[in-house]
């Protein structure tokens, strides 16, 4: 039972995109990633049932939640402070994180915090 959950978590690790291969400076990056995450959840929900579905959903939620806390949320904040992202997209990214935490019944303390260094804004002129 626990082993199944661990295996599901291991499988879901491969879903996460490599952060350095995503062009976050594109204003469409964050909305696209949101759509991608939602599609993942929909696929798992419709493609499985019963205990398997529960395990897969929990594995996916844990993978996405940790990825968000380490990579996506810091990037979202920096891009928002740089004025490249609308408020709505940033808010839906944070809402999704809150939903995942509610689903897993966690506060997200155990996930690694990303810090600010995933992406840094660069000012052009002097």
């Amino acid at each position: 039972m626990d082993k199944d959950l661990l295996i599901a978590r291991r499988i879901m690790q491969d879903v996460l995109p490599q952060p350095s291969l995503v062009d976050f400076t594109d204003s469409e990056a964050i909305p696209t990633l949101l759509t991608f995450i939602r599609t993942c959840f929909t696929l798992v929900r419709h493609g499985s049932s019963g205990v398997t579905q529960q395990h897969l959903l929990m594995g996916l939620a844990d993978a996405i939640g940790g990825y968000q806390k380490a990579v996506l949320l810091p990037v979202t904040r920096q891009v928002y402070y740089a004025g490249l992202l609308s408020y709505t997209d940033g808010q839906s990214m944070h809402d999704l994180h809150e939903d995942i935490k509610t689903f897993l019944k966690t506060t997200g303390v155990g996930w690694k915090s990303g810090g600010s260094n995933v992406i840094r804004p660069q000012l052009t002129s002097k």
């Binding site: 400076t25 949320l73 402070y81 408020y87 915090s113 600010s116 260094n117 804004p121 000012l123």
Partner: protein, 286 residues
């Protein structure tokens, strides 16, 4: 394995995408009197001595001292050391370390929560309105530069330090664009406070200082050990000298593969020699 190294190769080749370029605000610096109506302006005084040629002497002092008859100044103009001006108040936060609210000198709704929808992109809005108001009140470019310097001091002391927090401050949206446009409009670098507690990373340098490998995440985001491994691997891919330890690892890896292959050959030869059927087939060939 191949996919892993292909990922590392992509990591090594893609360096520019870790930055996002910040574009300045498009502020129409033509004066707009309606902009001033949105702001709470306060009357204040500034030290007028700064405008004179010799800032150390108060106005008209020479005349007073050289007048032997009466001690009271006799000239027509009063002594003006302070000049009445219209001031635009700067915004401020309720707390420096954990801000929850921001006060902006709007005429309506001046205190806003930093975590609410209402305060989204509030600082760029304030900056745009303030610059338009200043342009409407005065023609001199120095006023805008003085305002820029004051706002710059406030931003780098209070706001920019908070941008790396784990909290999302909705009210700080577009702050970096404001900093960028202030550089376009001009800042008086002489008047900037030399304070320890500020974050100058975004301003002083042409480009933000980056680590040796900016595409490998810097401290705090990943474990240092894994980071070191990644750096070594990237060094190997880029052909740097510091990645020699990884090269040695690779060489030992290939030597081990060759040795294992040799052992397999020998074993198969032995097993083949002891297998009677293969022995027979060998004999029959001969």
């Amino acid at each position: 394995m191949v996919a892993y190294f292909f990922d590392l190769y992509l990591l090594a080749t893609n360096t520019k995408k870790t930055f996002c370029l910040v574009t300045p605000l498009e502020v129409n610096s033509a004066g707009d009197n309606t902009a001033c109506d949105q702001l709470v302006l306060e009357k204040g005084t500034i030290d007028a001595r700064k405008k004179r040629e010799d800032p150390l002497k108060p106005a008209g002092q020479d005349k007073i001292l050289n007048d032997p008859e009466i001690g009271i100044p006799t000239h027509q103009q009063p002594i003006i050391d302070e000049e009445t001006v219209t001031k635009i108040p700067l915004p401020f936060l309720d707390d420096d370390d954990h801000p929850k609210a921001i006060a902006i000198p709007w005429k309506d709704k001046s205190v806003l929560s930093l975590s609410s929808n209402d305060s989204a992109y509030i600082i760029p809005k304030y900056y745009t309105v303030a610059v338009k108001c200043i342009a409407a009140k005065s023609n001199s470019k120095n006023d805008i530069i003085r305002f820029n310097t004051a706002l710059y001091n406030w931003l780098t002391k209070k706001v920019v330090l908070r941008l790396n927090d784990d909290t999302w401050y909705i009210g700080f949206g577009g702050v970096l664009r404001v900093l960028e446009s202030m550089k376009v409009f001009g800042i008086n670098y002489g008047d900037i406070d030399k304070d320890q507690k500020r974050d100058d990373r975004y301003i002083y340098k042409d480009s933000v200082e980056i680590g040796k490998h900016p595409y490998v995440f810097s401290e705090g985001s990943w474990s240092k050990r894994g980071q070191q491994y990644l750096r070594e691997a990237v060094d190997v891919l880029k052909g740097n000298a510091s990645g020699k330890s990884h090269l040695v690892l690779l060489v030992t890896f290939f030597i081990m593969i060759v040795m294992i292959a040799g052992v397999c050959l020998v074993c198969s030869y032995w097993s083949g020699a002891r297998d009677p059927k293969r022995m027979l087939s060998n004999f029959s060939k001969r």
